[in-house]
């Protein structure tokens, strides 16, 4: 077979464009973030090509749609690697899709840098070529908030907390990261609810939370359920002193969807439009030119992957699908630190990033970064106003 591991690469492979294979959920459940990441990748490729390409060769992105289906994602990478003979692969979106995709890349000996597989389990599969190019894995998203709350004077610190999370490794991972840290610090968990993805009615969950009257409400959510929960909590007149939801509030549709209730809601965020990290402002500008709107976190994550791989390629001076080259790239990424739009990134031996997410809050209707100290654009408002 032409794609037998170790088979000689056809000579054409050494010249011509650098082909990068990517499968993304462009349709299906994850299509919205999938699209964002695709745009991030495209902005990166556009900028690299404007600078003359990778090692002097043009970059060409080959996208496949996996329809958010793990079967498809494998077959996409399979065909990208063996049929299209790409030089590099970039990761897809969602922890659920990253694991099967990484398996394929791993078995063909390809480096696998990914923008969106944050769940702890991703890093426990024994992958040797996987890196998550974002500041922190799911369990660490709320680290700054946990620190902040634990350090509050005892009389101000929330005493009870309610957790409601979607049954999804990423969403649940974020909420449980916070839960474990707060529980260790003595904040009592009064509700710990996990609901399946098909849940549409959040009022009864809110009723449970209402009955427990917690100081803190944490949602391990994606968009739909974060909106559902906020509305239900409002209807049942639950007024916690602080409310935090993952993912949902970082999307542009959120404030409109929950009407006025967005005020003072917290959310972990890996990227900020106002930050001045390497390439961030250029990325935002180019994004606007290419796609018209404002860049979001997903686009930034895609862009980050490009930045990390670009740095590695430039450092080791090769970009072949061969084992030696991919090994060298992997080696380099494992050891180096990389300046990206989400800040400097470095990875542990399992490919986990070692930084933390920032915490954003809606203050006077605007998204502000409130934690950590060094990056903040506004002060954290606590307790929050009633919704």
């Amino acid at each position: 077979k032409t794609d037998e591991p170790g088979a000689a690469q056809p000579p054409g492979q050494q010249q011509g464009p650098v082909k990068i294979g990517i499968s993304l959920p462009l349709t299906g459940d994850f299509s919205e973030p999938g699209k964002g990441i695709q745009e991030g990748y495209q902005v990166w490729a556009d900028q690299v090509n404007a600078k003359g390409g990778l090692l002097g060769r043009k970059v060409e992105l080959i996208f496949r749609d996996d329809a958010s289906d793990p079967n498809r994602v494998s077959s996409d990478y399979e065909s990208l690697i063996t049929q299209d003979k790409v030089n590099l692969v970039f990761g897809p979106f969602s922890s659920r899709l990253v694991i099967p995709a990484a398996k394929v890349a791993e078995s063909y000996g390809m480096l696998f840098v990914e923008p969106a597989g944050a769940a702890a389990e991703v890093f426990e599969q024994g992958f040797t070529r996987l890196f998550y190019a974002a500041p922190a894995i799911a369990g660490d998203h709320y680290n700054y908030l946990a620190d902040y709350l634990v350090k509050l004077p005892a009389d101000q610190r929330p005493r009870t907390a309610a957790y409601a999370s979607l049954d999804d490794p990423f969403a649940q991972g974020t909420a449980y990261g916070l839960r474990d840290k707060l529980a260790a610090a003595g904040v009592k968990t009064v509700v710990d609810e996990v609901y399946p993805p098909e849940t549409t009615d959040f009022a009864p969950i809110a009723a449970k939370i209402a009955a427990a009257k917690p100081d803190l409400v944490v949602g391990g959510t994606q968009f739909e359920d974060s909106v559902g929960l906020v509305r239900a909590l409002q209807e049942l007149k639950v007024q916690p002193r602080l409310a935090a939801f993952s993912t949902g509030p970082t999307l542009a549709e959120f404030p409109a969807a929950v009407k006025g209730a967005a005020e003072h809601i917290l959310s972990p965020v890996g990227w900020s439009a106002t930050a001045t990290f390497t390439g961030n402002q250029e990325m935002i500008k180019r994004y606007k030119e290419m796609f018209g709107g404002d860049a979001n976190e997903d686009a930034a994550n895609g862009y980050t992957v490009g930045q990390v791989v670009e740095a590695a390629v430039n450092a080791v001076k090769c970009v072949d699908p061969t084992k030696e080259c991919q090994d060298k790239l992997t080696q380099h990424i494992r050891q180096g630190t990389f300046d990206t739009v989400v800040g400097p990134l470095s990875f542990d031996d399992k490919g986990r990033p070692e930084q933390a997410h920032m915490i954003q809050q809606y203050v006077k209707g605007k998204i502000e970064i409130v934690l950590p100290e060094q990056a903040k654009t506004a002060d954290l408002v606590y307790p929050k106003q009633d919704w």
Binding site: D29, K35, P196, T199, D201, P204, V227, G228, E235, K237
Partner: protein, 292 residues
């Protein structure tokens, strides 16, 4: 205790909504022997249209109804006349499942293409407040949903049972040739019947848009639940479906506040299988046993 009451109240209100959503399904089956897997897809089509009307004109979502209800009615007539009517009568129930499954995919694909895969929602101020009676909160949006459901069901019931049209519709389904021979325009009647079912989807979709965010694939979640409801109620019995809907809504609500969401959803299927074992024809349907 108050938690239980709260669960009960919410469950009953949600049950009302389920009744509305399931009524169309029951109608297609009861009077037309058609299993309409695409009903939830049409619900969300209506929800998207409501969304468009709401966002582009800035009006209350219920004001979309004068537009969507007739539209869906005629859409239903078209679906029946152009597609369903072509199926062979002896395998109608089965083939209609597959046909409407295909329609559901078509709708989902089109919604995804035109509205993208992202979530949309319609939020009104009144949809975030609630009425509090004795410590039990009754959200206004759910009260409204319940009211609309009750009203729609009443109208539907009156049309089906009391009117000449209802009689003609049932006769058409039961023996088409005989119906033509007593002077019923069977094609037209069958088309209108299907239209009426889809018209309930228009109403249901608007209510749904008001109370939950949605995206093109949302309809899958509803298929299982609504199907369970109409089987428990007795396939084809509109009243049975309504009662089963409220029952299952209450059970779901109570289980949600006492156990968890997985078990609450599971209740639908537990009841479904219990029904099969105890009374395969459903609790309200099947008045007509097999004749040999």
């Amino acid at each position: 205790m108050s938690l239980l009451l709260q669960g009960l109240a919410l469950g009953a209100l949600t049950g009302g909504l389920y009744a509305l959503l399931a009524s169309g399904l029951s109608l297609y089956f009861g009077v037309m022997r058609v299993v309409m897997v695409a009903h939830p897809a049409f619900l969300f089509l209506a929800a998207y249209l409501t969304y468009t009307v709401h966002t582009s004109l800035g009006v209350d979502p219920f004001l979309a109804l004068p537009l969507t209800v007739p539209l869906f009615f005629w859409l239903g007539v078209a679906v029946q006349r152009l597609l369903i009517a072509r199926l062979a009568p002896d395998s109608l129930a089965m083939m209609s499942v597959l046909l409407t499954f295909g329609i559901a995919l078509v709708i989902e694909g089109l919604l995804g293409t035109f509205y993208t895969g992202s979530y949309k929602s319609v939020s009104m101020d009144y949809a975030t407040r609630s009425l509090t009676i004795g410590g039990v909160h009754l959200p206004y949006d759910k009260i409204i949903a319940f009211g609309v459901a009750a009203l729609t069901l009443a109208v539907l019931f009156a049309v089906l049972v009391k009117s000449r049209f209802g009689q003609a519709l049932r006769a058409t389904v039961q023996h088409r040739e005989a119906a033509r021979l007593v002077g019923i325009r069977t094609e037209r009647v069958a088309g209108y019947g299907f239209g009426a079912g889809l018209a309930t989807a228009a109403v249901g979709g608007t209510v749904l848009a008001l109370i939950t965010p949605f995206f093109p694939a949302s309809h899958w979640v509803w298929i299982g639940k609504l199907m369970a409801i109409i089987v428990v109620g007795g396939l084809g019995s509109v009243i049975g479906a309504a009662l089963a809907a409220v029952l299952l809504g209450v059970v779901e609500g109570v289980v949600l506040v006492t156990v968890d969401a997985t078990w609450a959803t599971m209740m639908f299927y537990v009841f479904l299988f219990l029904t099969l074992l105890a009374r395969p024809q459903g609790f309200f349907g099947g008045r007509l046993a097999h004749r040999f």
